[in-house]
Structures are given as C-alpha cells and as structure tokens.
C-alpha cells in the first residue's frame, strides 16, 4: 500500500532571467512502513524533493499522490492541513521555538489541529516520555543538550501520529555518539510501524535505512535496497 506516489515531477525556479531546474523528472513510490534514505550531492535536488514530499511546496509539473490524494495542486490551506496531520518534520537545526518549553513545542501541532487543552497536554507528555525525556518536559531548548533538542523535535513530529516522518540531516548538528542515539530512536520508530524518510549526504547515516534513492542533477540516479544495513548500538536511551 503506498503512501507516496510521485510521477514525473519537475520543479523549475525563475532566478532573474534564468531558469533553474531543481528537479527535472523524478518518479518514485514509497510504501507504508518503509525506511528510505534520499541521498545526493549539493545541487542534486534532494532538498527540493524533500520540500515536495513534505508538502511545503508544489511541483511545477507532474503528479504527487499522498495517501491516494493528489496534492500537487492543492491550496495553501489544504497543504497546511496535510503537513499538520500527516507529516512529521525533523530538521537538522532542530527548529524548536526557543522561548517555549518542551511541552509547548510538542503540543504546537495539536493546537493547530484544534485539539483541546487537556487532551493535547496528555498526548504531548506521552510523546516526550516515548522519546525518553519524561524529566525534561518543562525545560526550554537552551536548557537541553543537542541530542535532547532533537528528541523534542522527534516527539513533536510524532505527536499527531503522522503518515510519514521526514528527517532532513537529523544528525548533522550532533556529535557521533548522540547522532548514533538518534539513529537508534529512528530504528525503534520504524520497528513500531512508522514510515521514515531520511534525507542526508552522509553514506554512513543513509545506510541505516533499508533503501537508498540517489539523486543527481535533478534526476533519480539509483534506487536500491541496502545490502548491509547499519545497526545502531543498542542503548537504553529510549523507553521500551
């Protein structure tokens, strides 16, 4: 059953008088509970593809079906609703609200989803417990380490029970040990049934996934299963 069905999408930007083809002709399908990594050098179009997948932007040409619905021509408001309910973002720079505590950061998508106070506080708390931050609920981002901030971001991504989790260089700003912990977290999320899409330029990180799609110059160069997956060293960083 596929969640994502992309057919011949292209994205062309006007930069002054020139046309920049960020994506030229990309087609791919991603099924439920897959763990996919998208790789490519700078300029390959992987950020653009990620923006498409995350419904942050719409393609210039082609069709994007998300859970069977054509989102390529949706209005801004409809896209916002999909982002809210179906997509969980995890960014390289965490992108938390700096002046709000962890709980408020995690409950924010639920506020935008119209969930009332009591229920959303419970769900946000649970999401934080699930990523192992039960004792950091009222901390602000500047009172948390890099790894903890990324966990808050993951909790936020999970809180609406989205169809996919979209992570853009999630370990880019972390040291290797903490990065490893986060990859362990993703592994567990995958095992619990989530669909995970990772965008990275690091081979080592990409090999944690089950499938790697490689982009070059706005086209899919290779799309193959990973033969020797990286298994993150097991740690007790996460609640069972």
């Amino acid at each position: 059953m596929n969640i994502i069905n992309i057919e011949h999408i292209a994205k062309i930007y006007q930069v002054g008088l020139e046309e920049v083809q960020a994506l030229r002709d990309v087609s791919l399908r991603i099924d439920k509970n897959e763990y996919v990594a998208i790789m490519g050098p700078s300029g390959s179009g992987k950020s653009t593809l990620m923006n498409m997948l995350g419904c942050l932007d719409t393609p210039t040409r082609g069709k994007y079906e998300f859970n069977g619905v054509n989102v390529s021509e949706m209005t801004d408001n409809d896209l916002a609703r999909i982002r809210n309910k179906e997509i969980g973002f995890v960014f390289q720079t965490f992108n938390l609200l700096p002046r709000s505590d962890a709980l408020h950061n995690v409950e924010l998508p639920l506020i935008y989803a119209g969930i009332p106070y009591g229920e959303r506080r419970e769900r946000a708390k649970k999401a934080l417990v699930d990523v192992g931050l039960a004792d950091r609920i009222d901390h602000k981002p500047n009172e948390l380490s890099g790894g903890q901030r990324q966990r808050v971001a993951v909790a936020r991504a999970l809180v609406t029970s989205p169809s996919i989790i979209l992570a853009d260089e999630p370990t880019g700003n972390l040291d290797s040990k903490t990065g490893e912990e986060i990859m362990q977290l993703f592994n567990e999320l995958h095992e619990k049934g989530n669909t995970i899409i990772l965008v990275t330029h690091e081979e080592y990180i990409a090999e944690h996934a089950a499938r790697i799609i490689r982009l070059k110059d706005g086209l899919v160069e290779k799309d193959e299963a990973v033969t020797k997956r990286q298994i993150p060293k097991s740690s007790s960083a996460v609640a069972p």
Partner: protein, 411 residues
C-alpha cells in the same frame, strides 16, 4: 463557530506567550499608545471639567436674569460710543421700577473693589456688590449662615454685609463669621449672612463666592461718588420662558426712562447670560477640537510606532513563522496570531493609559476642575483596540504570506 472561538483563544494564548517572551520590546511599544491615550483622556476630562464648571457658574448667574447696563457684554459697537453713553443712576432705577410690570424682581447694582480685613487676616481686591434687599430675589443664592440684609438695613444704608463662602473661609477658617465685624476699605461692617458655596472656578472675581454684598448706600458713602459710577439694573423674569417678553418690556420702559425719541438708538444695553453662553460655547468648541486634534496626533504617532515594531518583529521571527507553517499553521492562523499580538499590546497600553489618566485627573483636580466620564473610558479602550488592529494588519498580512521554504532557510 466553535472552531473560530478555539482559534481565537489559542491565538490569544500564543500571542501573549510571544509578548511575554520579549517583555522589553513589548513595554516600549506599549509606551506610544500609553502616552497617547493618557494625554487624550486627560485632555477630555479637563475640558469636560472646565465645561461643567463654566456651565454651573453661568447657571448661577441665572438664565432668567437680564442686566440693564450702560455697557454691552458683547457688541460690535465702538467702545468709544459705549463709553460716551450717559451713566445710569438711581433716579433711572426708581423710574424703571415704577414702570416695569413683568419682572419678578428688580435691583440696582454698583460695584467696587476693596481690601477686606479681619484681625490679622485680609483678602485683597475683593469685589463689592452694592445693591438693595431686592437683590437676593434676582439670584438663586443659598445661605450657610444668617440671611441677606433686609429692606430696613438697606434703606438706612446700615453697614452690614453678606459675604461669599471663599471670603468667609479665608477670613474665618473656623467658620465663625456670623455677627463679626470686618473692615471693608477703612469702614466697619457687621456680617449678617454667609453664602454657601455657589461654585464656579471660571468666573473668578465675578464668582459670588469671592464677593461681599453690602447696601448700595454704603458704597456711595464710602467708596464711589454717586455721580462717578454707573448702575446696572438687574431684572429677573418671572420664568426662563418669559425672558424675551420681559426683555422687550424692559427695553420699552428704559427708553421711556431715558427720554429717548422713537428714532433715537438705545443709550443702554440689555445683557443676558445667553450671550455669554453662546460666546463660551464657540470658544470651547474650538479649544476642544484643537485639543483633541493635537492629542489625537500623538495617538497616531503611537500607532505608527506599533506598525513599525510589528514589521521588525515579523522580519525577526521569519524562521519561527516558517516552523509554525511547517507544522501546519494556516495563513489565517499566522495572521490572527500577529493581529492579536498588536491588539494586545495596544489594549494593554490603552488600559494602562486610562488608569494613568484617571489618577492624573484626580491629582489635577486639586488645581483644576476635572470630570471623568465613563464614555471616555469606553472610547479609550475602543480606540486602543482599533489602533492595534489597524496598525497590526499590514505586518500580520506580511507574516501570513511568507513562503515556508524560504522562511525556514532564513538566518
């Protein structure tokens, strides 16, 4: 409907969080509206206070009283021509009194200014009102102590006096004025009555509170030579409705008294409180508009300040807006949030300004009559909220239209 309320409430909470997160900037922004509202409300309470005071004072003069005088209160005529008019004397008064049928009361009045002393205390340059026992019937005076001087005392030109409440307070702080003897000019006068406060800050020396009332004969005897002064004849109409009729009769009678031929102009004027009122209203009207305009300007400047700050705030929070959009905030959610932020700033600033203005009015009341009206409060709040919405709209709209992809990339 429920969803709109939910969005509104959540938007308000998020807005307050944002304001609290940046207290310094929020307070400084609020300052503009705060000052604007304080100034506007203070100005309107002061103007209303003076207005009330003046109206009270003018009412004290009596809307049903006419003042027949050589001088005109308001006139386009040459001052010289007025000056050259023959003075009005007691003989004119006596004849007038004989002939006029309609008036409720008629009294002759002549004025002088003297220093009034009691023991160590003195009041300089007090307005003396010299008249007869009928004078009190042309006023609405009320008494704190004693009574007005009577016909016997007046006819005999006894040196008795009725003093106004301010004069009484200054000479007799313990309130024991009755039956005491004061010195007016160099002459002794016994106090037979003390007026209660008639109240009008505006009329100054013309305020009965600052006057002393003595029989007219004593003025001629001590202060003003009979032939030097001119008398004003105070005429009280039976009712305010009959003022015009009484005025017409008075004019006819006075013309006869003065021996004027039918083609000769009046050599006297009949003055009314109404003229004063009109004059005052037009002056106050102008002051009010000018005052409101100037203070409104300060409010306008405050609003511009808010718009400016909100634009800066939006620019600074571009990344935050991108994050919110990525998580699923719709355009109208962002619009609402920022609109509520600017409205909250203005509303808080407005309420603070209102409180400050009320406190200021109370403080100012010691020097100056002020009158706090509930309408001013409602208008102040309303204007603040409106300012917030209007000045916040353009920045909020800019925020709502930001592209999430670009915003996320903003450093």
């Amino acid at each position: 409907m429920r969803y709109i309320l939910f969005e509104f409430k959540e938007g308000l909470l998020i807005a307050f969080r944002a304001l609290r997160a940046n207290k310094v900037r929020t307070s400084l922004t609020m300052l503009g509206i705060f000052i604007g509202i304080t100034v506007v409300v203070l100005m309107s309470t002061a103007i209303k206070g003076i207005d009330n005071s003046f109206q009270d004072g003018i009412s004290a003069l009596g809307s049903d009283v006419l003042y027949v005088d050589k001088w005109a209160w308001f006139s386009n005529e040459d001052w010289w021509r007025l000056r050259n008019r023959r003075s009005i004397d007691m003989a004119d008064y006596e004849k007038f009194k004989e002939l006029a049928r309609l008036p409720l009361a008629i009294a002759p009045v002549i004025n002088a200014r003297q220093t009034v002393k009691f023991g160590e205390r003195r009041v300089e340059s007090v307005f003396l009102n010299g008249s007869n026992a009928d004078y009190v019937k042309t006023t609405n005076f009320t008494f704190d102590q004693g009574r007005f001087y009577n016909e016997v005392e007046s006819n005999a030109s006894r040196q008795v006096a009725v003093i106004g409440s301010e004069v009484a307070t200054k000479l007799f702080p313990r309130g024991d004025a009755l039956d005491k003897t004061i010195k007016i000019g160099g002459a002794n006068f016994k106090i037979v009555g003390v007026l209660s406060e008639q109240g009008s800050f505006i009329l100054g020396p013309f305020n009965p509170d600052n006057q002393v009332f003595i029989p007219i004969g004593t003025i001629f005897k001590n202060f003003v030579a009979r032939h030097r002064g001119t008398i004003t004849i105070n005429v009280r109409a039976p009712s305010p409705a009959m003022v015009e009729e009484t005025k017409a009769e008075a004019e006819g009678v006075m013309r006869k008294v003065r021996g004027l031929k039918h083609d000769e102009e009046n050599d006297f004027s009949i003055n009314q409180q109404e003229g004063l009122m009109e004059n005052y209203n037009s002056v106050v009207g102008v002051i009010q508009i000018a005052g409101l305009f100037i203070t409104g300007l300060s409010l306008f400047v405050g609003a511009i300040g808010i718009m400016n700050i909100m634009f800066v705030s939006v620019r600074e929070r571009t990344k935050e807006i991108g994050i919110r959009k990525a998580i699923g905030a719709k355009r109208r959610t962002i619009l609402t949030q920022f609109l509520l932020e600017s409205s909250a700033i203005c509303l808080l600033g407005g309420i603070a300004g209102l409180v400050a203005a009320i406190l200021g009015s109370m403080a100012l009341n010691q020097y100056f009559p002020t009158s706090i009206q509930p309408q001013a409060a409602i208008i102040a709040i309303g204007v603040s909220a409106l300012t917030g919405i209007l000045s916040g709209f353009a920045p909020a709209f800019t925020a709502a239209k930001l592209d999430p992809v670009d915003s996320l990339r903003y450093e």
